[in-house]
């Protein structure tokens, strides 16, 4: 077990040096700030817009990280032949694969937490710059109306709100959402759900990386991701196909029958990533819930995919 951890930590070290990670993180910060801007354009419910955009951005960017960092993971070891001295050590091949997977998962976890933290900071800053907060902080109510508190107060306010946001965000993330105000409620939960989704996607990235070139792996992982997200709708599409012909399967055209079979098969086998999607509830500040079966599905499915990767890896000849 400690050997798996050793590989995992080393993988983490390796992944952290990947430049694309920082590019994606940079973009995520841009998008999160952009969410703030977009919310100001919305005449109704700016809260919903900013939360929507933020949570969606974190989801997409973490997926991109999983793909771009994951595709080179095992492939690089094989291509650069660094694997020779590792496999010749008393470590089984499956331990190697699992270690790589866990290392990648750890990397993504850290990144998701960083993005969540940035998002919390943005939200807190946004709140600090609403008219009410500024009014309250920079003006005092006297009998003759509102009196500004002076330029020193403004400076102080900017500084305190900036650092305050940073620490509030940090507190939110580190306490796993236990310490959270109304504006950041539910975000940690969303990020944890995203992590479950990433567990599955990462597993696929590792799987494809173990036998395919990075470009092809990226392509295939992206397809899996798309099918996973559109899974439920795919299934619903098949139902509406049936509905359009009045419910009987025989009435479908041959081409539609094919579509039906394919869609049914794909939606059952492919991972269902929609169950981890509660973004609409998060946007509306509604109560989030987690079915233990959902967590189990995520864990079991990713374990299964990693097992397949290990099996393939077991029989590989290393050039």
């Amino acid at each position: 077990m400690s050997k798996v951890l050793a590989i995992a930590l080393n993988t983490f070290r390796e992944a952290v040096r990947n430049r694309i990670l920082y590019v994606l993180l940079f973009f995520s910060v841009l998008i999160l700030l952009g969410a703030w801007v977009a919310s100001t354009l919305s005449i109704e419910q700016p809260e919903r817009t900013v939360r929507d955009l933020g949570v969606g951005a974190i989801n997409i960017i973490s997926g991109l990280i999983a793909v771009f960092v994951g595709i080179g993971l095992v492939y690089n070891d094989l291509d650069k032949k660094t694997i020779y001295t590792i496999v010749s050590k008393p470590i089984s091949r499956w331990q190697f694969i699992v270690g790589k997977y866990l290392g990648l998962l750890l990397t993504i976890f850290v990144n998701v937490m960083i993005m969540t933290w940035v998002f919390c900071v943005v939200l807190h800053l946004r709140e600090a710059f609403t008219d009410e907060s500024i009014m309250q902080a920079l003006y005092t109510q006297t009998d003759s109306g509102l009196v500004p508190k002076g330029s020193g107060a403004t400076m102080m306010y900017y500084v305190t709100s900036f650092f305050g946001s940073i620490f509030k965000g940090l507190g939110n993330v580190l306490s796993f959402g236990l310490y959270s105000t109304k504006i950041t409620s539910g975000l940690l939960f969303a990020s944890l759900l995203t992590m479950l989704e990433m567990a599955i996607i990462t597993a696929f990235a590792v799987l494809f990386s173990s036998f395919s070139t990075p470009t092809l792996s990226a392509f295939m992982t992206a397809i899996v991701w798309i099918i996973g997200k559109g899974n439920q709708d795919l299934y619903l599409l098949t139902l509406s196909l049936l509905r359009n012909v009045g419910g009987s399967f025989e009435a479908l055209e041959p081409s539609n029958k094919l579509v039906y079979y394919f869609a049914q098969g794909a939606s059952h086998i492919a991972p269902n990533l929609e169950i981890f999607n509660q973004r609409d509830r998060i946007a509306m500040f509604e109560q989030l819930s987690l079915d233990p079966y959902t967590v189990l599905y995520g864990i079991v499915y990713s374990a299964g995919v990693v097992a397949v990767a290990a099996m393939i890896f077991q029989r590989r000849n290393f050039k």
């Binding site: 919305s42 005449i43 109704e44 559109g230 619903l236 929609e274 999607n277 609409d280």
Partner: protein, 466 residues
């Protein structure tokens, strides 16, 4: 040698590149210039695929997509995408489809209704959107309220309003003013009985809750209901009169006869107040108290209905002439056909000759007058200033302003015709004239409007102007 060859080769490559670029840019420019930039194209951009497809295509980022489409709609609205005369169907479809992708996003329906119905004038499609929104969000009372508003003001369809009202009544956390629209709907539907009953319910509730402001607001509603109720009775009587006599009645006294205005039951304001006060003292449960007040506000009456605000109903001759001149068809509403039935309070502001006279005869260029005080009494004294309800205007230097003698009498309830009811005989003719009171008659005789026999001499007041 090779150096020169190399340089020539590079130069040729450079030339080819520049030519290609220039060609490409020129071609594009020509293409864009000839491109069809008709505004209809923008409307075509509104066409979205089926919402099922959209739901799948957005891969779980539905609310993000809807947010973007919503922002886009806001910006397009700012850029002005509504052209008069165009069908609102594409815009309606746009909102409807986007709403289907995320049905719980209520602002879509609100904003869509704003664009389609309020700005675009297509109330029907606006209602369709609101209905779609309510069905997806069973507790969106704001949409129900907009539906009621639309139905009554834009569509003039009280039945449609009833649907929205019924939905609102089932919703959670509906604020009072939405539910009170019921009374207004009932009123618009001509169901004054239920409108009155509904209002009593709220009245007692507010009384019990100690909510004085709301309670006072409701009084206006009561006045309005009872006035319309009374008018309906009078109009029915006039219909009977026309059926029997073949023409319109010239005076209210002609209609106030047992064969035209029989017996009926109606609430009276004093009875309402009395029973409400009784209920204020008792500890009957709410429903029973409301029932009691409802029953005990009503009383049996006959003849001329009571005017709830304290004056009385009569037929105004000038209005009568103008209504007859308009030749209103019999399919029009009773309010339109019998618009000559008025009360002094409703009639007074409509035909306030006073302001009209001043505006016509004493306006100084760009200066006014803005107030009565600005007209010097000596100028004023020369004019004939009867008011529309049988009095005349007098200058009161203590205030200082002009006041109408009849208005003052009405305000103090000193006219014997106030709150009059029954078949008569009435102490004074129901249509007020300058001959009703001595002071007014003396003034009229002095000004030569009437002669000693009561014949009207001057019809056109403007003829008295210098």
């Amino acid at each position: 040698m090779t150096q020169i060859r190399d340089r020539v080769a590079m130069a040729i490559q450079g030339v080819i590149m520049v030519c290609a670029l220039t060609f490409a840019v020129t071609f594009q420019k020509k293409h864009f210039d000839e491109m069809d930039l008709r505004p209809e194209l923008f409307t075509q951009k509104l066409r979205l695929p089926n919402s099922e497809v959209l739901k799948t295509a957005t891969l779980g980022f539905r609310n993000l997509y809807v947010d973007f489409m919503f922002l886009r709609a806001i910006q397009a609205y700012g850029a002005g995408w509504l052209k008069p005369g165009e069908s609102r169907e594409p815009i309606y479809q746009y909102f409807s489809t986007v709403a289907e992708v995320d049905p719980q996003f209520v602002p879509i329906y609100r904003f869509g209704n704003l664009i389609v119905s309020d700005q675009g004038g297509d109330g029907e499609r606006g209602q369709k959107l609101l209905r779609q929104g309510i069905l997806a969000n069973p507790n969106s009372w704001d949409l129900a309220y907009l539906g009621i508003y639309n139905a009554i003001w834009n569509m003039n369809d009280p039945e449609d309003a009833r649907w929205f009202l019924a939905m609102a009544q089932k919703m959670r956390d509906v604020p009072g003013y939405v539910l009170r629209m019921e009374e207004y709907v009932e009123r618009r539907l001509g169901r004054y009985e239920s409108a009155f009953d509904v209002n009593v319910d709220y009245f007692i509730r507010y009384q019990r809750a100690g909510n004085e402001t709301e309670r006072m607001l409701l009084y206006n509603r009561f006045y309005d209901i009872l006035e319309k109720w009374s008018l309906r009775i009078i109009h029915t009587g006039i219909e009977d009169y026309i059926a029997a006599e073949g023409g319109h009645p010239l005076k209210m006294e002609d209609v106030v006869k047992p064969e035209y205005l029989g017996e009926y039951e109606m609430p009276l304001i004093e009875l309402l107040e009395k029973s409400a006060d009784e209920m204020a003292m008792s500890d009957l449960p709410l429903e029973e108290a409301v029932e009691y007040v409802r029953k005990n506000s009503r009383t049996k009456m006959f003849g001329l209905p009571v005017e709830p605000r304290g004056t009385w109903f009569y037929i105004n001759s000038d209005m009568f002439n103008s209504v007859m001149a308009q030749d209103i068809p019999t399919t029009a509403t009773a309010e339109q056909r019998f618009a000559y039935v008025v009360t002094p309070i409703t009639f007074f502001p409509r035909v306030d000759q006073h302001t009209h006279l001043i505006e016509m005869n004493y306006l100084r260029p760009a200066m006014g007058p803005n107030m009565d005080q600005e007209v010097p009494p000596e100028v004023y004294e020369r004019w004939l200033t009867p008011d529309p309800i049988g009095g005349h205007y007098v200058w009161d230097p203590s205030i200082p302003r002009f006041y109408s003698t009849a208005r003052v009498r009405l305000g103090k309830g000193q006219d014997p015709r106030c709150q009059i009811t029954g078949y008569g005989p009435f102490p004074l003719p129901l249509e007020p004239t300058l001959l009703d009171y001595d002071s007014d008659r003396a003034w009229a005789l002095e000004k030569g409007i009437y002669d000693a026999n009561g014949t009207r001499l001057i019809w056109n007041i403007e003829d008295s102007m210098p």
